[in-house]
Amino acid sequence: SQQGEEDPQALSIQEGENATMNCSYKTSINNLQWYRQNSGRGLVHLILIRSNEREKHSGRLRVTLDTSKKSSSLLITASRAADTASYFCATVGRSGGSNYKLTFGKGTLLTVNP
């Protein structure tokens, strides 16, 4: 079963605006990651935030993590048409024994209109 659930499922904004996507999860995690997927391509890793971190920045990306609410948000500032893609959160937690497993949500489709 899916661990992360992104919200909204689809988001359409104008170039220059900020885009915020949310991810909720159900069980304890080691870390949470965000990935981008352009149409017809593989996923690209964007940023990782560990369970003991609350906020992380990378360029125009800002990720927050609230482990008490089991939620994360991805903020893309000053969006560009090239940011149009699907964005997935993925949680890393134990799957039994000593193995960790990465579990993906269903994604948010972001459309940035020029």
Partner: protein
């Protein structure tokens, strides 16, 4: 996609035929994964490998088998393809148990 390739990139096959998809990496990463991506389901893990000859099942492993005889190659086999296995298949690699790097995908159609 640098350092990881998948072959074939597209394949059409008939129900009941065996199919093998290949993932090849040049990064010497320990961990390799096979996912399928379907509308409404996101990415689901089929099988993964944590070393040569060491593999384990993911959440949708029924009807699939894998093999890893070399660090660089991870094969996914559909023993007898069914229409429900029509999907886009992604291979991923990882040096650790954390961030993963994805291949370009294989679009498989089972008629």
């Amino acid at each position: 996609d640098a350092g990881i390739t998948q072959s074939p990139r597209h394949k059409v096959t008939e129900t009941g035929t065996p199919v093998t998809l290949r993932c090849h990496q040049t990064e010497n990463h320990r961990y390799m994964y096979w996912y399928r991506q379907d509308p409404g389901h996101g990415l689901r893990l089929i099988h993964y490998s944590y070393g040569v000859k060491d593999t384990d099942k993911g959440e949708v492993s029924d009807g699939y088998s894998v093999s890893r005889s070399k660090t660089e190659d991870f094969l996914l086999t559909l023993e007898s393809a069914t229409s429900s296995q029509t999907s886009v298949y992604f291979c991923a690699i990882s040096p650790t148990l954390y961030e993963q790097y994805f291949g370009p995908g294989t679009r498989l159609t089972v008629t």
